[in-house]
Symmetry: C2
Subunit: 105 residues, 2 copies
């Protein structure tokens, strides 16, 4: 999922979808200087990561955001930050004694 977010095109695509929910592929392709197929692939990638959802509307395929996934990503990041905090606190505790981190792993 972070891999899906890790591409410039996909990230901007995601932002665009977030702004105007329900945009078609052709619409999403405008002004990017790449072909529609390329965008289609990126969109597939985003959908595959669960970040967007495909909605068929007549002859066009529209995409809508799935905020739940974004939330999930944020939580992952938060978890890592939190580990950092805990590590810091543990470190501080160790410094109190003068033994050192012999069994740190």
């Amino acid at each position: 999922m972070f891999a899906a977010l890790g591409d410039e095109t996909r990230l901007s695509l995601l932002a665009l979808i977030g702004q105007g929910s329900g945009l078609s592929i052709t619409r999403l392709t405008r002004g990017r200087g790449v072909t529609r197929q390329s965008i289609t692939k990126h969109l597939g990638c985003l959908a595959d990561a669960g970040l967007v959802r495909r909605v068929r509307r007549g002859r066009e395929t529209c995409f809508v955001l799935r905020p739940e996934s974004l939330e999930e990503a944020r939580r992952s990041l938060e978890r890592i930050s939190r580990q950092w905090d805990e590590a810091l606190e543990r470190l501080r505790a160790m410094v109190e004694e003068d033994d050192g981190p012999s069994r740190a792993g």
Copy 2:
């Protein structure tokens, strides 16, 4: 930066660094089934993305987390979610009238 997070190895590396700050490259390589050089590259990638910082300690190079960057990533995600919320509200406003989103773009 999301690209840096988008790799399984790097993500776990980041988590490990978060747990035991100040781990050396060789230490970080243990039990991964890949060579030290590979890990070195990943670490360079993380450092390049500003997610970790290199700290030279004698003959070994240790890595420490930079929580600020994680925070920044979380904010990006939050911004996109937020856009979604706003879009939703705008959409609702349109439905109130009975015209529909004809000039959505």
